[in-house]
């Protein structure tokens, strides 16, 4: 692994030494802080969260400022009719965009997990703004194309930002359902009793209650000791019994899970909570699937979630472990383990083993239905509060990291202080607790740094997509006026053109290696050059079909052509490895 890291660094340095930037950064005072654009064309604040209008505006400004690097399209509408913006970022002056190895990025599949959107947008911005100053980025955009959808749950996001919510509500999209089976739809939602935009906790003084105020941090309630009388009841999230059925907040917007709506090992909602009717019940899911199917060049994917600080790979369910072969796991391991270094506090995990079982998740659809190497980063972790692992011995009521962080670093901005309220059902209560954008989403000053670190992880992932070159073309005259031409095609990155899973189930077609401008008599794959072991291909011998070009590996193909040969062109046409050729 260390060797690979070194290799990664060396390649960057080499590339830098070889190509001089053709446009200098417009420095403000002559010195640029390394790694960041000094005077970006698109002025953007990375310590804030964007709503739909701001995302749309950002995307449009990106296209305007970088017409040769950024194109914008809507891949379809959300359930409520918002445009699902996708930025396609590549060097449009070099190559055919959709034939380059493609990297897909989305964020915010859960409406409340909004910072994935900012990290995706930061990535788009960073790539475009540094294209002219950083040779590594220039190379990356010459050889790769990035498909970036900041938010794939715009309805849930808009609801989270503009409507009262807790840190965990608005995870769903907005398709209405009758959650309590009373024949009326979405009739008992959360209620913002004090109108501050946050849904916090309701408590009621009660000598028979089992809760008490945390003596150190009075915004927090802790359970009374086993042998101690309490002072309060906790009455759940801020809300009313709107429909008079004796339950509070039981039929909110939605409620379902867009990340259980995907077509790999999809299970119904009694097996997998949050599932809808069938994979792709949501228009958002269908729009993405159509886009991905129309872009078979997508070789890597990232879907940003929160939270917990994890680089997650599949599978979501233990029974799908056999679909991850050793070869594919080795690719994930390299990226995941480097990731643990570049994003401190984040762990490289397997969904079903280290998190929980997910049937019908998006990651599995990309990885197992389409054969795409896919990670999902769970952004934000309590490690980030004081750059240390929380004390594992403490339970959540003993650990005070969030309260201390709020006090010393947020100056108390993270919590709503308790205030009295006359509740129609509960009587005199108090409402207070953490704001909706604390706990799960990054505080402003941590957002930019984590955006950069997670982007770096994803760029490493994108860098390791297959990179093909025709390494050599060797011509050898044979008897009877024939010539033997042997081409070696090299993949200089760790991802193969086909994952082992893809190969097993023939998800993507083989890679085509064609000989142009020669009369081909026969064609073959060279299995062992030293002992002249070859496998002939009878059909279309001028285009040899190789099932795969392995990571950090090569394939050799050979043609027997009639006559003497001067210059030939060898073209490699790989869905995930790109379209390249060499004439020699």
């Amino acid at each position: 692994m260390n060797k690979l890291l070194l290799f990664f660094c060396l390649l960057g340095v080499t590339a830098f030494a070889q190509t001089q930037p053709n446009i200098s950064p417009a420095d403000l005072n002559g010195m640029r802080a390394v790694g960041s654009p000094a005077d970006p064309k698109v002025k953007e604040e990375w310590r804030k969260y964007h709503d739909y209008a701001q995302i749309s505006d950002f995307c449009q400004r990106m296209v305007k400022a970088h017409p040769d690097l950024v194109k914008l399209q809507s891949i379809g509408k959300s359930f409520q009719g918002r445009e699902m913006w996708l930025m396609t970022i590549t060097d449009y002056k070099s190559g055919i965009p959709d034939r380059k190895p493609g990297f897909y990025i989305d964020g915010n599949i859960h409406g409340n997990e909004i910072q994935g959107g900012e990290i995706a947008m930061y990535t788009a911005w960073y790539l475009a703004e540094n294209f002219y100053t950083m040779p590594f980025i220039r190379e990356l955009l010459r050889n790769r194309v990035f498909y970036i959808i900041p938010s794939i749950n715009l309805d849930g996001r808009e609801n989270f930002i503009h409507q009262p919510n807790t840190a965990s509500s608005s995870r769903s999209g907005m398709m209405p359902f009758d959650d309590d089976d009373d024949g009326i739809i979405d009739e008992d939602k959360l209620d913002d009793l004090d109108g501050d935009g946050n849904i916090v906790t309701m408590r009621r003084k009660n000598p028979l209650g089992r809760w008490k105020v945390d003596p150190n941090y009075p915004t927090r309630m802790v359970p009374a000791r086993t042998d101690e009388a309490g002072e309060y009841d906790l009455l759940g999230s801020e809300g009313l019994d709107n429909d008079g059925d004796g339950q509070v907040n039981e039929d909110n917007w939605g409620v379902y899970d867009p990340n259980r709506d995907w077509a790999w090992n999809w299970q119904p909602n009694y097996v997998q909570g949050g599932a809808l009717f069938y994979p792709g019940t949501l228009p958002e899911t269908r729009n993405i699937k159509s886009f991905v199917l129309a872009h078979p060049n997508i070789a890597g994917a990232q879907s940003y979630h929160n939270n917990g600080g994890m680089f997650l790979r599949g599978p979501g369910a233990a029974e799908d472990d056999p679909f991850y072969s050793q070869g594919d796991i080795a690719v994930y391991d390299v990226i995941g383990k480097i990731g643990e270094k570049i994003v401190p506090g984040y762990k490289y995990f397997i969904i079903h083993k280290d998190l929980y079982t997910v049937y019908g998740g998006e990651i599995d659809w990309f990885a197992l239905t389409r054969g795409v190497f896919t990670f999902s980063n769970e952004l934000m972790t309590s490690f980030k509060l004081f750059n240390q692992q929380p004390n594992a011995q403490q339970n959540r009521f003993q650990n005070q990291d969030y309260e201390e962080f709020d006090k010393y670093l947020l100056m108390g901005d993270g919590y709503v202080q308790w205030k009295p309220f006359k509740h129609p059902q509960f009587g005199d209560v108090e409402i207070g607790g953490p704001k909706k954008n604390y706990l799960r989403n990054h505080p402003g000053f941590l957002l930019e740094e984590d955006a950069h670190r997670n982007m770096s992880f994803t760029l490493l992932h994108a860098y390791q997509m297959p990179q093909l070159e025709v390494f050599s073309i060797v011509k050898k005259p044979l008897a009877n006026n024939l010539t033997e031409i042997t081409a070696t095609v090299y993949n200089s990155r760790i991802m193969p053109t086909h994952s082992a899973h893809d190969l097993k189930y023939k998800i993507e077609r083989p890679d085509y290696i064609s000989l142009k401008n020669a009369t081909v008599v026969a064609g073959m794959i060279v299995e062992n050059e030293d002992f002249n072991q070859t496998k002939e291909q009878k059909y279309t011998p001028q285009t040899i079909e190789v099932p795969n070009i392995p990571g950090m590996g090569f394939v050799k193909v050979r043609w027997i052509v009639s006559g003497k040969v001067d210059k030939v062109t060898v073209e490699v046409d790989s869905r995930k490895g790109g379209l390249i050729s060499k004439t020699e």
């Binding site: 119904p268 199917l293 998800i507 085509y512």
Partner: protein, 543 residues
């Protein structure tokens, strides 16, 4: 022989009279629209969506009054395009039901709704010139995943207008003609000193020289392999992923959105009606349920008995439920009852009276294929093309013959046979509808206590012979439970009891009792409702 085949072919697809031949899609559409046009009070037609090829998925709704307010059955045919008989049967059933509707039919449609999607895969319906058995829709599919679409199609080598089979004499062949009927090729059994003689391939050439014959022909996704339960990943004709097809989504949207659908009956090549799926505790116990729950298995047995009695059909060949099929998805995922039948299958011809004493239990010892050929011979139905030698470029110097079973012949009889089948299945449908759950409120009591307080007691009962919904439906969010509500006015206060009560599935004759204490006077009512079992309201006056 060729002439006979051509005649059959013309009769099969091309005839003008809808009564005597399989309809074209156009004729089908006309028949469906006529049905609604002539019976506006009982039938309506809408489009449930479009196929991959842009054809309407016609939905016939048979109901008197508001269809959505009554318990319903959804009947679907033609999901697997190679089974047009299912579609024809369903359409005939609808036509027969509405042709001078009997009192029984009128009564049924006043209490229940029938949703009929006779042709759920219309792209497969209208065939091209070479008649090959096509299951899939118009989605373009690269069946062998080599990057070339439809590059190894069938070829009509003997130019008879049909795609049949190739029989190749080859030392590596494992098949020999069956002793009982040489039209049937069976595996040679080395333990009986039998030596294989033939390879059996489809009619065509190996265009892409990959030693597979016709592995990538036109014809996209078989809709009955595209549903979500036990979806067959990466298998032929199953699509790129579960529910990828417009037809699949249209059926599922309709099923899930219409909470009144109690069960689904699919006319296609699967059968759990002639004999029901047995209860298997291990399969029912898992988190992912793969066998019917005990109560549902008992319902399956009951319905199966009813099916066999009502239709009088016997000797059904085993046709197990397939992967990714609607019958299973309706049950295991949507929580509704799922039934399947091909409708028609070859019946053993009545025995010659002179041979009566000889072979009393013949049917039991014959294979399904043997029965099929006996039926075809007795009924003089052309189902087989005699083997005829041709020269084949892929097998120089070898004896190659074209012939064998005609496309569609195995499960699609001449359409005249379906008349009687439709009649029999209508009888089953009426019997099934009559057994469906029916909610009532009985043993009602109003007891005045002192001070204007009344105690109301009712029993909610399922008077049907089937449960209010499948037991598995208890676990499914998108199955509405039995809801009993006390409808009180603003001046009446509820002192005890819940205003709204949800109850899990209630079996035949099962009841549940509710009691409320109400402070106040005047009119008050109790309503029980369940979309799959009906609605009932009783009114009381409190003094």
């Amino acid at each position: 022989m060729r002439l006979i085949v051509l005649l059959i072919l013309c009769g099969f697809w091309g005839g003008l009279s809808a009564q005597k031949t399989y309809s074209t899609y156009q004729q089908l559409t006309t028949r469906i629209k006529d049905l609604a046009g002539k019976n506006a009070s009982l039938a309506s037609v809408s489009s449930a969506g479009k196929s991959a090829g842009g054809k309407d998925l016609w939905l016939i709704t048979l109901s008197q009054g508001n269809p959505g307010s009554k318990p319903a059955l959804l009947l679907v045919g033609g999901l697997d395009g190679s089974h047009p008989a299912g579609s024809e049967t369903l359409l005939l059933m609808a036509e027969k039901m509405l042709n001078n509707p009997s009192d029984q039919v009128k009564d049924l449609l006043s209490k229940k709704t029938l949703y009929i999607m006779a042709c759920a895969n219309p792209d497969a319906w209208d065939q091209g010139k070479s008649r090959f058995e096509r299951s899939g829709n118009a989605t373009s599919s690269d069946e062998d995943r080599d990057g070339r679409v439809n590059e190894d199609p069938f070829e009509d080598l003997n130019a008879d207008g049909l795609i049949t089979q190739l029989r190749v004499e080859d030392p590596s062949g494992t098949l020999i003609p069956s002793k009982s009927d040489p039209r049937i090729l069976v595996k040679a059994d080395p333990t009986k000193s039998e030596v294989g003689k033939y390879l059996l391939l489809s009619e065509g050439t190996d265009n892409d020289k990959d030693n597979n014959w016709n592995e990538d022909a036109e014809g996209g996704v078989n809709i009955n392999k595209n549903f979500t339960f036990n979806y067959p990943y990466f298998e032929k004709e199953s699509g790129v992923y579960a529910a990828s097809e417009a037809e699949t989504k249209a059926v599922l949207e309709f099923l899930y959105r219409n909470l009144n659908i109690f069960g689904v009956i699919v006319f296609g090549p699967e059968n759990n009606l002639s004999s029901a799926i047995k209860f298997d505790a291990a399969k029912a116990r898992n988190r992912i349920v793969t066998g019917p729950l005990e109560k549902d298995a008992a319902v399956g047995e009951y319905v199966s008995k009813m099916y066999n009695t009502s239709t009088g059909l016997k000797n059904a060949p085993a046709m197990p439920l397939g992967k990714g099929s609607l019958v299973q998805t309706a049950y295991y995922h949507a929580g509704r009852f799922g039934f399947g039948t091909p409708g028609w299958w070859p019946q053993m011809p009545p025995q010659d009276s002179s041979q009566k004493q000889k072979a009393p239990a013949a049917a039991a010892t014959l294979s399904a294929d043997e029965i099929f050929f006996k039926w075809a011979d007795a009924e003089k139905v052309a189902v087989f093309a005699d083997w005829k030698e041709i020269k084949h470029p892929d097998f120089p110097g070898k004896k190659v013959e074209v012939g064998g079973l005609l496309p569609y012949a195995r499960w699609n009889p001449p359409v005249s046979y379906l008349d009687d089948i439709a009649q029999k299945h209508n009888k089953f449908l009426l019997d099934l509808a009559a057994a469906m759950p029916s909610l009532d409120i009985v043993n009602t009591k109003v007891e005045p206590l002192s001070g204007g307080v009344n105690r109301i007691t009712v029993q909610v009962i399922n008077k049907g012979f089937l449960p209010t919904f499948a037991d598995l439906g208890n676990r499914v969010k998108y199955v509405s439970k039995v809801r009993t509500t006390l409808n009180h006015t603003a001046t009446q206060t509820l002192l005890s009891g819940k205003k709204m009560n949800l109850q899990a599935s209630m079996g035949a004759g099962e009841f549940v009792e509710y009691t409320w204490l109400v402070n106040g006077t005047g009119k008050i009512s109790v309503t029980v409702t369940c979309p799959t079992a009906g609605t009932k309201t009783v009114e009381f006056t409190l003094n």
